[in-house]
Symmetry: C2
Subunit: 401 residues, 2 copies
């Protein structure tokens, strides 16, 4: 592959040649296929004639949602009405030549279309099928309505995203669709694993993969489940501090922004105290070790905050960086987009979108030797049905061949 024709562009990407069908909408399944398309897979996104409703989300230019430029990139879009017999026959032709399919309908919906795993495998027994849903394909909550925040709440994350003892304001959301994203990532990972299993084994059959939003979030709970089982401990929110390390916290700055500082090791602590003009504090016995600093953390945090409040976050950050104290202000989108490291790594790159104009795209989250991040964005999110003709012409050729 990559070695045979290094000039072939997409062919240098690892999943070049892998054929994936997306029956997705909103976030989870389309995010899974966006990652797989970034890695070089051929993704055909099957949408209803009116398009994936995510196309109506957020701001737009000329009727085109700007997020979709990224969310739909590197995909082919085909519109089909899955209630129509003729369109269903077209879908079966697509299934017959695909390696994998990703869907995120509510459990049972694909079966109601007559397109459940049994029907799909009757057409193509080697098809890997990844299904994403709020609660999974079985279990007592299977049919409960899933909504955006449910995975975050039920998977255990929202309970932790809070300041301890704070009862007036609710724990904030993550601010992004974290449970959909995680489920999409797991579905993509298991899908490629299923394709790895099938590849080169003529006897192999495609698997059915069931990923749910709740379980995807729950998978990040580290040692909390063993600790609950063994000791009955229930982890409580810790806010921005870390109980076992001090000083390590997030501090308010003069411009209303926040600065995250990790100053808990003995050496770094001394550098930090010197940098904020309190070198004498570093010498005091009650701050001599991390354990002692944890006991007296309120006093330390107050000292540090008194200093950070005098400077804008970027300036305080620059002072501490010079002093070699690990820190980072809480980047907002401007900070990210204008940061020299982001630019140097092409994590942010201008891309020409024929529907919208110049759009900033984030790089794929994996960098590959011999491929620039820019090469991994082969085209921007297309209009719904933009590839109807191209895909079915390709199909007719393949079927005739």
């Amino acid at each position: 592959m990559s070695e045979k024709d290094p000039a072939a562009g997409p062919a240098r990407l690892p999943l070049a040649g892998l054929r994936i069908l997306e029956l997705g909408h909103y976030i989870a399944a389309p995010f899974a296929t966006r990652l797989l398309a970034d890695l070089g897979a051929e993704v055909i996104k099957v949408e209803p004639p009116e398009g994936d409703p995510v196309r109506g989300w957020g701001s737009e230019v000329g009727g085109h949602a700007v997020w979709f430029s990224v969310h739909g990139r590197n995909k082919l879009s085909v519109t089909l009405n899955l209630k129509d017999a003729g369109d269903k026959a077209k879908l079966r032709r697509l299934v017959a030549r695909s390696d994998a399919l990703v869907e995120n309908f509510r459990p049972g919906q694909l079966e109601r279309y007559g397109l459940g795993p049994a029907e799909l495998h009757a057409v193509n027994p080697r098809l890997v099928i990844a299904r994403i849903s709020g609660y999974g394909q079985d279990g007592p909550y299977r049919d409960k309505p899933a909504f955006g925040a449910i995975g975050e709440a039920m998977g255990g994350l929202r309970h932790l995203t809070a300041n301890p003892g704070q009862t007036t304001l609710p724990p904030p959301r993550c601010g992004v669709s974290i449970s959909d994203d995680l489920a999409g990532m797991y579905a993509a990972m298991a899908l490629v694993a299923g394709c790895w299993q099938v590849k080169g084994d003529p006897a192999a059959r495609g698997r059915i993969i069931d990923v749910d939003l709740v379980g995807s979030v729950f998978s990040l709970m580290e040692g909390m489940l063993p600790e609950y089982g063994l000791f009955g401990w229930v982890r409580q929110p810790q806010g921005a501090a870390i109980k076992t390390a001090a000083p390590t916290n997030t501090y308010p700055c003069a411009d209303g922004k926040w600065l995250c500082i990790a100053g808990n090791s003995d050496l770094i602590f001394r550098r930090l105290m010197a940098a904020i003009g309190r070198p004498e504090a570093a010498a005091e016995p009650r701050f001599a070790t991390n354990a002692l600093r944890c006991e007296n953390v309120a006093e330390l945090d107050a000292m540090i905050a008194a200093w950070t409040r005098t400077l804008p976050a970027a300036e305080a950050e620059a002072v501490l960086e010079t002093a070699e104290v690990p820190c980072s202000r809480l980047y907002d989108m401007r900070d990210c987009a204008e940061d020299p490291h982001f630019r140097a790594r092409q994590m942010v790159m201008p891309v020409q979108d024929p529907l919208i104009g110049e759009v900033l795209h984030p790089a794929a989250p994996f960098r590959l030797d011999g491929v620039s991040p820019r090469e991994m964005v082969r085209w921007t999110g297309p209009a719904a049905g933009a590839h109807n003709e191209q895909v079915f012409e390709m199909l007719a050729k393949e079927e005739g061949a």
Copy 2:
């Protein structure tokens, strides 16, 4: 594979037969390999003689960290001193028979051991190498010290995890090592993609994959980068509410817990108001549409909170569920572990750990047809070096064959 001998246990898992070396410590690389091992890959974790320092994290039983029962499950542990020539030769023998390697040393460290990608590919040109670091393998911040919260802060997530206008308490952390987890997931996904590319192609060579914590978090920023580029908009934190949907928020309950309610569609809004004993409010013109409710959201939120404050979260949840209003209390670890859906889906399962006793394990986040979640936990996290003999005996046999 799976079809040839369906009774063979691990062989039914999709990555059975894939050989992965982990040169990892703490979270990101070991999390990547835990997921790959759950999917059936053979993972050999190479640790320094004193063991991965993550083994000292959190609570323990008899000197064994309880988290490691999960974090190290399904892996073989081999201890090697990478500064020792003899051990380095052993590592090269392992490299020679592996499909992939995952590492999360600081950039340059593997090269300083004389084990950089060039050296590894000299031993095995087909090896897929996944590298995880805080800022990536190049760019101006490459050598900056990475610390846990950096990816969250610099990738744009911490800025969003906040209540708007709230300036006294810092935005809380996610409460889990989200940036390490995301990077581990991306590394695992790209690694399998690299292995898919190599499989069955005798001319193919292994790729080098570079995943960073900052970029992994940044990948979740949805439409925020295009919106910044096109309009100069900088997304600000929205707390627990959603600006464009009302009422949808998180409300305080009598037991100090929180209840997340999504009551913004017209029909559900009416059911919600009836359930909380305010059916007349649903009929008022100023709450007639979602747009009007968004304008008058403070009043609505106060009404709903006045009701939730009278009941413990679980009871309020039960009332709303009966009324078919989507809601979820913010689950803590007890809620997760005791929930009937979690139990029915085997998302929580007791596993016998020979080092610790009975430990609750979370299921793998992907369910596979024909495999029970319990079968995917083949063994619990082993002691450091537990498989030294077994692995090198296996190696000697392979080399002799």
